[in-house]
């Protein structure tokens, strides 16, 4: 195979060549000629990041479970590899078969993060696949998108043939089976898309036209194809407990960012944090039973050999009986020295019971997300925890042996004042002092201050983002307050990349040509600070005569149509608006109290 020969020459020249070779344990290599549907799952970031993604593991096992289908992986090549691939005209290929993406029937991108959009286009370009859907005819793979950003995919709309909004477990196989039946009949691309548009959760962007006012305001999305439904309801997997959980995930050769097994306790979140998109789009809460989870854990550990298993969900401590589950798991796998870990925790449900179940994971730090440092601001954003919750949770963890904690906060939240920002540091100081006086130990805190990004389908979707200069100013206040504070480390996000994230999170189709130019202009890996250049993007906006502030900094009018109104997350615009108003009332009543 010529591609393989080429690779043999190029791989010795790049960093971590094993990223591009596949062949890992549990990788599924099927004969392309023995199946009827060939799909490449494209993750628009490097191998180590993509291999940590739970969605990939789920889809990989489900699709490869069908004898007539295959699904292979492809990741964004790092800069050094891309350069060589372009120099040698090597097309982007999938890891299992080393076949070019062009030879697949589907290429499916998972859209996890707005700043990966330039990578999506770059991967298409590297694959030699025309960027625009309308330029792709027969014999070119259908490009499909999914993941959280598919809930407002408009900036990417013209590049995709279809999106699957919501859970992929049942929707994706249905799409592929449908396609197979149609392609056997020799259906045209339009016939295929028209038929797929009837599947629940499928959005065919080419069947809709946005309307704008002469002044440039978005007036709404208009279906113009007879097969296009007026709105698209997200796909919901009803029974998570009985659905497929990956049991034999690929064990990466190059250490992944999260190099461990993962079991998904439940999907969805019952809390109503008003900034949180995941909390809305993954609704309703669906759980797996403890018995199912123990079986899954057993299987994964046996099939992978991992010594660490993460109990994942949006808020794992909310799992009913989490302490008991941990206890059972610890008991069963103690002899094999398996460590169980929880991702970011909620302060109000973290208990002594849970803390005591981590006998082995104690070396690391625990992560909590108070998000805001004052009672008022937490009320405004709907984060229903109190200061006492924070002291109690950390106190329990310290008593159980931890001494290092990571705390997530946000800067630029609606109604935030400078006092709210500096309160982050006074809260941390108070926390350290309390623990010291109660338990005689100083703890170490790492404070991470992200910038608030208004997201579609949340009660804050109408809110403007705080201007970059002001974000920088508040970050400065935070740094100043944290100066000479012992046991406190501070990190913050780059205001420029949060700004760009906000632009695309609330963007519309008019941003698509800009993305195309960005790809041509060399934008890649915008989520990586070493690759991101705000100036390059600002120049692009200027050249295309687009005001990015219209998307990021404007308070959207409550009555104006939004670019994602036709995509239904299950939470109505009306109830989002009600929540939005309530946050304002909460603020008002709290201010009156003061």
């Amino acid at each position: 195979m010529p591609l393989e020969k080429h690779l043999e020459k190029l791989l010795p020249l790049v960093q971590k060549p094993a990223r591009y070779l596949g062949g890992e344990w549990n990788a599924v290599k099927k004969d392309h000629n023995a199946v009827e549907v060939r799909m490449a799952f494209a993750f628009p970031d490097i191998y180590e990041v993509g291999m940590s993604n739970l969605g990939l593991k789920i889809i990989y096992e489900i699709i490869n479970g069908f004898p007539e289908m295959l699904l292979e992986r492809v990741f964004a090549p790092a800069a050094d590899m891309e350069k060589l691939m372009r120099e040698h005209s090597l097309p982007l290929f999938a890891l299992e078969s080393l076949r070019p993406l062009r030879e697949f029937d589907f290429v499916g991108f998972t859209l996890q993060y707005e700043l990966s959009y330039s990578n999506v286009l770059n991967m298409l370009d590297l694959a030699g696949i025309p960027l625009y859907s309308e330029e792709r005819g027969a014999g070119v793979p259908l490009i499909i998108g999914g993941g959280p950003c598919a809930f407002n995919p408009e900036p990417l709309a013209p590049f995709f043939d279809l999106f699957l909004i919501g859970d992929g477990e049942e929707g994706l196989p249905e799409i592929l089976q449908h396609w197979l039946a149609l392609s056997r009949k020799g259906a045209s691309k339009e016939e295929v898309l028209a038929s797929l548009a009837a599947i629940e959760g499928v959005y065919v962007p080419g069947f809709y036209r946005p309307r704008y006012s002469p002044g440039g305001s978005f007036l709404g999305m208009e279906p113009y194809h007879p097969a296009a439904p007026g709105s698209i309801r997200k796909r919901v997997l009803r029974d998570l407990d009985r659905s497929c959980h990956p049991l034999a995930p690929v064990v990466p050769h190059v250490a992944a960012v999260h190099d461990r097994g993962v079991i998904e306790l439940f999907r969805g979140c019952s809390h109503g944090c008003r900034f949180c998109q995941a909390g809305k789009i993954y609704r309703p809460v669906r759980q797996r039973s403890p018995e199912t989870l123990q079986k899954i854990a057993r299987e994964i550990l046996r099939n992978t050999g991992y010594d660490e298993l993460s109990l994942s969900s949006l808020s794992s401590c909310d799992y009913p009986g989490i302490a008991q589950l941990l206890e059972e798991l610890n008991r069963e796998h103690q002899a094999d020295k398996v460590r169980f870990t929880l991702p970011s925790l909620r302060l109000d449900s973290f208990s002594v019971g849970v803390a005591e179940q981590f006998h082995q994971g104690r070396r690391g730090s625990l992560t909590f997300a108070p998000e805001a440092a004052t009672e008022r601001l937490r009320r405004v954003i709907g984060k229903d925890i109190s200061e006492d919750d924070l002291f109690t949770a950390i106190g329990a963890a310290v008593a159980a042996g931890w001494s290092a904690f990571k705390l997530y906060f946000m800067i630029g939240l609606p109604t935030e004042t400078e006092d709210d920002v500096t309160a982050i540091i006074s809260l941390c100081r108070e926390l350290r002092r309390r623990i010291r006086s109660d338990q005689g130990r100083w703890i170490n805190l790492t404070v991470s201050a992200a910038t608030f990004v208004p997201k579609a389908h949340t009660p804050f979707q109408w809110e403007p983002q705080l201007p970059m200069e002001e974000v920088e100013h508040r970050q400065g206040l935070l740094r100043q307050a944290a100066r000479r504070q012992k046991g406190l480390k501070l990190s913050w996000s780059d205001p420029g990349s949060s700004f760009l994230e906000a632009v695309f999170a609330r963007g519309d189709r008019r941003l698509a040509p800009l993305l195309e130019r960005a790809q041509q202009g060399g934008c890649r890996f915008d989520g990586w600070s070493e690759h991101f250049s705000l100036q390059r993007w600002l120049d692009l906006f200027a050249a295309m005569k687009i005001d990015p502030g219209e998307y990021a900094y404007r308070r959207f009018d409550e009555i104006e149509p939004l670019p994602w109104d036709h995509l239904k997350s299950g939470v109505s615009k009306k109830s989002l608006l009600w929540e939005y108003h309530r946050s304002q009332e909460d603020n008002h009543s709290l201010e009156v109290q003061r």
Binding site: G23, E24, W25, A255, G305, Y306, R362, R363
Partner: protein, 241 residues
């Protein structure tokens, strides 16, 4: 405590794994195999697995060695059967032996590695005579100083001549092309990677084509005192493949 020494080969499928990648891969394979593994004590217990000498990235190998401690005795045949079933394509277990207590760990005694390097670049290889001259010139030097980055990141100069036990040009046989055979020091007393050697050779011969022009294969690891000793003890219970 039961100690098992095993021998394995690394094919092209796994040649780009780093030493740590390979260690992790073997540990996971051993856990999947359900071997009665012994763990280190402490907060983060680790499998007591060690490899004789790190294999440079990009290099394939015929005879690599590792050692692992078990809490229960296991016959070499059973160890081999169970672990083999869990190894990915490219890794092949070729021998297993039980090591009596008191034998020093492999990594502390293995000090020599035998490599062959074949010209693979599409550029024409330097003439055999030129290469021979370069070899003679290089080996005749009493000291070969190279720059090296130390652990602290500081650059230092180092003489690598003592790490070259032997280096020879093999007579080309039936379409095999140019081949070098290198016996280089490895291990805790210092060592030299084959790519570093090939770099120096290219400098000495003033031809272009350093390490990347060659395909390197590690034939074996040895304990080199007066003779080359195989790390598999004689009389041990060996299952060979």
């Amino acid at each position: 405590m039961n100690r098992i020494r095993f021998r394995f080969s690394c094919g092209k499928e796994v040649r780009y794994l780093s030493h740590l990648d390979l260690l992790r891969l073997l540990q996971r394979a051993m856990r999947r195999a359900g071997l009665p593994l012994a763990y280190s004590r402490g907060f983060s217990p680790r499998i007591r697995l060690s490899l004789a000498a790190p294999l440079p990235v990009g290099v394939t190998a015929s005879k690599e060695y590792g050692e692992v401690f078990l809490v229960e005795p296991l016959t070499p045949a059973s160890f081999r059967r169970r672990l083999s079933a869990q190894l990915p394509k490219g890794l092949l277990l070729t021998g297993v032996v039980v090591i009596p207590a008191g034998v020093p760990p492999l990594a502390s005694v293995v000090n020599a590695a035998l490599y062959t390097a074949r010209w693979k670049s599409s550029r024409p290889a330097p003439a055999a005579s030129l290469l021979q001259k370069a070899l003679d010139k290089l080996l005749a030097q009493p000291a070969i100083m190279i720059r090296r980055f130390g652990k602290s990141g500081k650059m230092s100069k180092q003489d690598i001549r003592p790490y070259i036990y032997s280096a020879a040009l093999l007579p080309s046989s039936g379409g095999e092309g140019l081949q070098l055979r290198l016996l280089l020091q490895v291990g805790s007393q210092g060592g030299l990677s084959p790519s570093r050697f090939l770099e120096q050779l290219a400098l000495a011969g003033d031809y272009s084509g350093g390490e990347r022009a060659w395909r390197i294969h590690r034939e074996g690891l040895y304990i080199y005192q007066e003779n080359l000793l195989d790390p598999f003890p004689e009389g041990g219970e060996v299952t060979d493949g």
